[in-house]
């Protein structure tokens, strides 16, 4: 009964402002390259569209596979703009694809809501008027882990990350932020294996040889699985604390199963334990609709569609320039709570959950977790203005 009340309450908010303006969203993503993340993402989007339209909204969603390369993605985005005549572009996963589409959006003057890509550059160095980004950036997620890392007062740190922009900027931010928080910290080893091709045995051995007190890792997916298994076998984690970006997201955590290492600090999404009303409502609706539990991607897809709908409602129009104005400073409800779209750099303040990994039976879970609000993990406005060259 309670739940029904809540739903109807939320729906009435949706419809309150005479939400009748139609909007056509052109979504493109690398569905065949990163299916583990993007299939739940698509389900999240579809759920959001159904909710909005059931409440009298007029959202039309067109999805496309972007082929996973910037060149193909730009062509697909052009198709969405010219043939489908979409009002808003949305999506992309890998940073290089996100940047390419963002660059096209600025050239063609179309709003682009980058849902997934983590690169800092999309809102900083390469930020532009037409691009907005939903997920917490690499910098933000690193900044969320640093306070915990500094608390441990470990002196010798080793770093391991996949060798491409996400890993490189995660490593650079971590070094910078930890040195600020804990002067005198030493970085004794650095490993940057190629993405998806980590030679885990050799990397674990090299890290062990550096004799660190703690390790910061930005590995994910298959690289993370290999690293964890080798590290467990070779006893690397017995004496070292480990911090790993993203490892608490169900997409990556669930694949670790009984190898899940105890006590690692991670960012992630403990979907079954978050019991705020807004999350419970989302989780119930998602499980009812798809007969499956939500992943991090589901939340992102769901919130992205709702963000567009909220912007259209505020602007009472689907015109690009009005939507840009509406999104700046827009506040909205997501499964993670209230989120604001920063007018300064077009980054949403959606946060992430910071906690520790633990093994429960033959599954990994997140424990001791708390929500880290994205608004609190930003560089100063001054720094951002300088980066955006505005």
């Amino acid at each position: 009964m309670n739940r029904k009340l809540l739903i109807s309450g939320l729906l009435s908010i949706v419809t309150a402002n005479g939400f009748a303006q139609a909007v056509k969203i052109g979504e493109l993503n690398s569905y065949k390259v990163f299916p583990a993340f993007l299939e739940p993402y698509k389900k999240g989007m579809e759920l959001a569209v159904e909710e909005i339209n059931a409440a009298g909204g007029k959202v039309q969603l067109v999805t496309r596979d972007d082929g996973g390369t910037p060149g193909d993605a730009v062509r697909v985005a052009e198709e969405l703009i010219t043939r489908e005549k979409v009002d808003v572009l949305m999506g992309t996963f890998a940073s290089n694809v996100g940047l390419a589409v963002s660059n096209l959006a600025a050239q063609r003057k179309v709003l682009f809501l980058a849902s997934e890509p983590l690169t800092d550059k999309i809102v900083w160095e390469n930020g532009n008027r037409y691009t907005f980004r939903l997920r917490p950036s690499t910098y933000m997620q690193v900044a969320m882990l640093v306070p915990e890392a500094a608390k441990l007062k470990k002196k010798r740190w080793a770093i391991v990350y996949p060798n491409y922009e996400y890993g490189q900027s995660a490593a650079a931010s971590f070094k910078k932020l930890l040195t600020q928080a804990q002067p005198g910290v030493e970085f004794v080893g650095e490993q940057a294996p190629a993405l998806g091709k980590i030679d885990a045995g050799a990397v674990v051995q090299a890290l062990a040889d550096a004799k660190p007190d703690a390790i910061f890792s930005a590995l994910f997916a298959a690289d993370l699985q290999k690293f964890v298994r080798e590290g467990n076998t070779r006893g690397l984690f017995r004496r070292t604390a480990v911090f790993n970006l993203l490892a608490g997201e169900p997409e990556y955590l669930d694949t670790l199963k009984d190898e899940t290492p105890d006590g690692w600090w991670v960012t992630g999404y403990p979907w079954n334990e978050i019991n705020t009303p807004e999350h419970r409502r989302f989780r119930d609706a998602y499980q009812k609709r798809w007969n499956d539990y939500p992943r991090q991607g589901s939340v992102v897809g769901y919130a992205a569609v709702h963000a567009v709908a909220a912007a259209v409602r505020k602007a009472d129009s689907a015109e690009t320039e009005k939507l840009v104005q509406a999104l700046k400073g827009l506040e909205m409800q997501t499964p993670f709570g209230n989120v604001q779209w920063r007018a300064l750099d077009h980054q949403s303040t959606m946060g992430a959950y910071v906690g520790q990994l633990a093994r429960k039976g033959d599954k990994g879970v997140m424990v001791n977790w708390r929500y880290a609000d994205g608004a609190k993990f930003q560089p100063s406005d001054e720094e951002i203005r300088k980066l955006r060259k505005e």
Partner: protein, 597 residues
């Protein structure tokens, strides 16, 4: 590094080498006997992994390994029997295209059957823990692998040198026609060898699951590693593959141990480039025997009157395209034209030049990057930047080609691949200049060229002229000299043609054309990233040329247009578009071969 660390990293290298050897040995055997460059070998390995993970949960790891191996072997036999057997007499590269189509199909089948998540297999029962070696913990399972590599090597060696079947295989590897003439039933020999190779790939995959999860990207990641090992060792040489696997495994582990982990991105390709420059047939390889009588080439025809008329009509049609309401057609046509030029340039090298390049994207990408940098950093105009792209493509081709023309056949192809990979890793790694993995953005043409229609006309004019020039070149004295060099380098040099200089010139010409294509591509997309010179782009180029037909004058252009169009349609309308493209390519391969046979 302490001495114990050195020892442990050496052992890590050996363990990696063992699993690499299993796959490479199979690939090498198959190539040696059937002359098929089996692109799908990595897919067989991947299937071995998936099957083993799936079976382990049901019957346990140690039963799963042999069962998965047998299943992959059976699949290999089917592939040989149903597909490859029908096209053995087709030009070599057509078979490569067929196996490439299999890669696309197998990946989607795996996605459909096992879902998108990476599946981590169980630890091997009995070898789950670690042993203490030199003060560090070393996994028991890795020790087992270290022993297994030489065991398999020993068995293969015994099979090849001590059994009658092995003698037949070696005879066929050395001289296929002669073995056939002496009454060896080649059909069954080929089937048997392909099955054995597939079994080795399946075994390698099944044995890998305690060390790495089964995932969808493994097929292509693995095949490039395996190719490198096979080529470094010498095609068809099992001992060579063994040594090469050890060499590469140990070098990679040392890079990591010494703290140069970023070098692993390109280490194997640097090794391959050095080996091929020093020893053109790999470490233990021998010059390939001449293939006799399998394919007699018809000289390239000129464009007929009717063909010229059709081309004129096409040009007219393309000229009025911007007046149609559908603006997307312009975007698509721009891309088709750019790739048509790219494919036409590759065709001059492959067809009249007889030099298959697996790394043609290098010149495309270098052209794109240099044009973009000239535009962004030096603030050159669009026109000058395009010229810079042309120059850069030519220069890159001049440098790479100088080494490549000293080789031939698959070795030449692999050296072009090695250079392309090195160029790719420079673009990927050199953050300050190339923007690293993110690439460069903001490469939009000058305002007067910026609209879709005007830029389309520019591309139409430039690509049209360049393609016509490339076609014309096939019937100039240079073109004849190039074809003479391909057909018989001995006779060509006897009549005074400088074979190497001719081939080198071909490299430079095609490099500059690809460079222009790359520069036009950059300005049409507004951004570029390392994928512009990735293996995938090179493979796409090959597919375009082969679809259109190597031994036709204009085929590459139609192949490029068709492939781009097919890709665009399939991705949009079919969920399993990879498999659909794969199936379409297979159909075309068979249709082509039927038509020409």
């Amino acid at each position: 590094m302490t001495s114990s660390a050195v020892l442990l990293q050496f052992l890590n290298g050996l363990a990696g080498a063992s699993s690499l050897f299993l796959v490479a040995a199979g690939l090498s055997l198959i190539f040696g006997v059937t002359r098929i460059v089996n692109f799908a070998h990595g897919s067989l390995y991947m299937l071995g992994m998936y099957l083993a993970v799936w079976l382990s949960a049901r019957v346990g790891f140690w039963v799963a390994v042999p069962v998965a191996t047998a299943a992959v072997a059976a699949l290999g036999a089917c592939i040989e029997f149903l597909l490859l057997r029908r096209i053995y007499r087709a030009p070599e590269l057509l078979q490569l295209l067929a196996t490439f189509a299999l890669v696309l199909i197998v990946r989607d089948v795996a996605l459909w059957a096992w879902g998108p998540e990476d599946l981590l297999g169980p630890r091997a029962p009995g070898f789950a823990g670690a042993v203490e070696i030199a003060g560090g913990a070393f996994p028991q399972y890795d020790l087992l692998l270290i022993l297994l590599g030489p065991c398999v090597f020993g068995m293969l060696h015994f099979l090849l040198t001590r059994t009658r079947w092995g003698i037949l295989i070696r005879a066929t590897t050395q001289d296929r026609e002669m073995a056939g003439a002496l009454g060896v039933n080649q059909r069954w020999l080929f089937t048997a060898v392909f099955t054995l190779g597939a079994a080795l790939a399946g075994l390698g995959g099944a044995l890998a699951i305690p060390r790495e999860p089964a995932g969808l990207g493994i097929d292509l990641a693995l095949i490039s590693d395996a190719f490198v090992v096979v080529v470094v060792g010498g095609l068809g040489s099992i001992p060579g593959a063994f040594i090469a696997a050890l060499l590469i495994g140990v070098i990679k582990a040392s890079c990591i141990g010494l703290g140069y982990s970023k070098l692993t991105l390109v280490a194997e390709f640097v090794v391959m480039a050095i080996v091929l420059v020093m020893r053109p047939w790999g470490l233990l390889g021998r010059p390939q025997g001449e293939m006799r009588g399998t394919w007699i080439e018809v000289p390239l025809g000129r464009i007929s009157k009717r063909g010229a008329l059709a081309l004129g009509l096409l040009a007219l049609l393309l000229a009025v395209l911007p007046s149609l309401p559908d603006q997307y057609l312009l975007v698509l046509a721009t891309e088709m034209l750019v790739f048509a030029l790219f494919a036409a340039s590759l065709h001059l090298l492959m067809g009249p030049g007889g030099m298959a390049s697996f790394g043609h994207a290098a010149y495309f990408g270098v052209g794109a990057y240099v044009a973009a940098l000239a535009f962004l950093k030096l603030h050159w105009s669009t026109g000058s930047s395009l010229l810079a792209g042309l120059g850069a493509g030519a220069l890159a081709a001049a440098i790479f080609g100088w080494f490549c023309v000293r080789l031939s056949g698959v070795y030449l192809a692999m050296l072009t691949l090695a250079f392309a990979q090195i160029a790719w890793s420079v673009a990927f790694q050199w953050d300050a200049v190339t923007g690293g993995s993110n690439g460069l953005v903001g490469i939009w043409p000058d305002t007067w060229l910026a609209s879709r229609a005007v830029y389309y006309y520019l591309v139409l004019f430039l690509c049209g002229c360049a393609i016509l020039a490339l076609w014309r070149m096939a019937h100039t004295p240079f073109g004849y000299a190039l074809r003479a060099s391909r057909d018989s380098s001995l006779r060509a040099s006897a009549i005074g043609i400088d074979v190497r200089a001719t081939q080198w010139t071909a490299f430079i010409i095609t490099g500059s054309a690809a460079g222009v294509a790359g520069a036009l591509f950059a300005f049409s997309k507004g951004s570029i990233s390392p994928e512009t010179l990735s293996v995938q782009r090179s493979v796409d180029g090959l597919v375009m040329v082969l679809l259109g037909g190597v031994h036709t004058l204009t085929g590459a252009v139609w192949g490029a247009a068709g492939f781009t169009w097919l890709h665009d349609i399939m991705v949009r309308s079919i969920e399993y578009w990879r498999a659909a493209i794969g199936a379409a390519i297979l159909l075309l391969v068979f249709a082509r071969w039927r038509l020409s046979a």
